[in-house]
Symmetry: C2
Subunit: 232 residues, 2 copies
DNA sequence: ACCTGAACACCGTTCAAGT
DNA sequence: ACCTGAACACCGTTCAAGT
């Protein structure tokens, strides 16, 4: 009594469900098939391989995040909104986050956020090259933040396993780490995310102002990369 | 004729070798054992599990990067040097990078870079809480950058598979993406890394200056997180 | 203490057979 | 077109047996 016909969508949904319930390590074609009450090989009628299925999972998760965008808002606010939308992945699909972040998606699901971000950065006055570089910087920061937030914790790492607690760190070898142990131990992920986001936006704003008149300023700045000379 | 006795170190080295040669997906306890010319179960005399072995791989890779640090240099230069040291992972051990980045290490190998970074940030005048937050921001950016750089490409993705080439993107739906396709297609990873690094250092420097007099400024700034108000 | 083969409970995917 | 069981070539790890 097949309540509903098998389909790519149902398979992907079952996979997401299983990942969020038991962790990314727990998923296998056989488990998913069992979850759907079908034979393993039935899955291959709708999905070419496990790898393709995982791409489907990443796409589905990414396309489910809310991407409201107000084109009339200040560009900095639009960047904030878009960055926070990405962070929703970590809270809505914590155990699938690694998957979303570690597979580059060449589909519309991945292209739409990029399109919006580029439009926003161009509206701030950046030229194409600047907008692309800036977008890459923001994405790198967001991806790294999400990875920290979801911890990539193996299944259910007990919260009591203190990692850098005052006890266990040699205060002579690591004075800073041991004196800041309590701060390193706990982390308000939202506050931390916002802190870095503001740093990046501030740096971007400084470049937006500076760049309004001069043309090749960024090209020069990037040309002196790799030099070991300091700021001052 | 056992040329050399089996040891944790030899096993980890063989694992790294195998990963760099055939990709992270290719490694298995059985393959590593075969590589070393021993039975699979012999590995378990020196390593409790595959998971522990992978932690060992991450540790070994991390501890092999050069961490020169000149305490007399300007703090911004020290940050630059340390950030670039991390990026060496991507060039020296591209296919192990994901492993290093996705496992939090509670060993000395992971603690030393943290200790140096905190000392550097404190020398810039940041208090403990600021230094810890700032460190997290830099790490998030670096981690995200490395992930982009190593591509997490499945084994040997042919370079000819153009992902966002001008052809294949609907210019009406994605005007920015399609007009900036050539810029999005290619990426000078070093230049890109330096670009974002300078943005973060600039933002950090602005906070270092501002914070020299006032005490609770950062606490206030972070307290207004989540507000939808803009910059201006 | 260190090594090991057999065995167990899993994998992803191919193939030939069904409807 | 869709489903499927058997089979193949793999996994990580336990266990009991060896030295």
């Amino acid at each position: 009594m097949p309540t509903e016909p098998l389909s790519r969508g149902r398979i992907v949904a079952a996979a997401i469900d299983l990942i969020e319930r038991e962790g990314a390590d727990a998923i296998s074609m056989r488990r998913i098939a069992a979850e759907l009450g079908v034979g393993v090989m039935s899955l291959y009628n709708h999905v070419p391989s496990k790898d393709a299925l995982l791409n489907g999972v990443a796409e589905a998760v990414l396309s489910e995040i809310e991407f409201t965008d107000d084109p009339d808002a200040h560009w900095a606010d639009r960047v904030r909104t878009q960055a926070r939308a990405f962070r929703q992945i970590a809270s809505h699909y914590p155990r699938s986050t690694m998957l979303v972040v570690s597979r580059q998606l060449h589909s519309a699901a991945g292209l739409l956020p990029v399109e919006r971000a580029l439009a926003t950065l161009r509206s701030a006055g950046f030229d194409g090259a600047e907008a692309v570089s800036m977008l890459r910087v923001f994405i790198a920061y967001i991806v790294g933040s999400l990875l920290r937030e979801v911890g990539v914790t193996p299944a259910f790492a007990p919260a009591h396993t203190r990692t850098i607690s005052p006890v266990g760190v040699d205060a002579a070898l690591f004075p800073e780490v041991s004196s800041l142990a309590s701060l390193l131990d706990e982390c308000d992920h939202e506050e931390e995310f916002e802190f870095g986001l503001e740093m990046l936006i501030q740096a971007a704003a400084a470049r937006a102002e500076r760049g309004s008149g001069e043309q090749g300023s960024r090209g020069q700045a990037s040309r002196q990369r790799g030099s070991r000379e300091g700021t001052r």
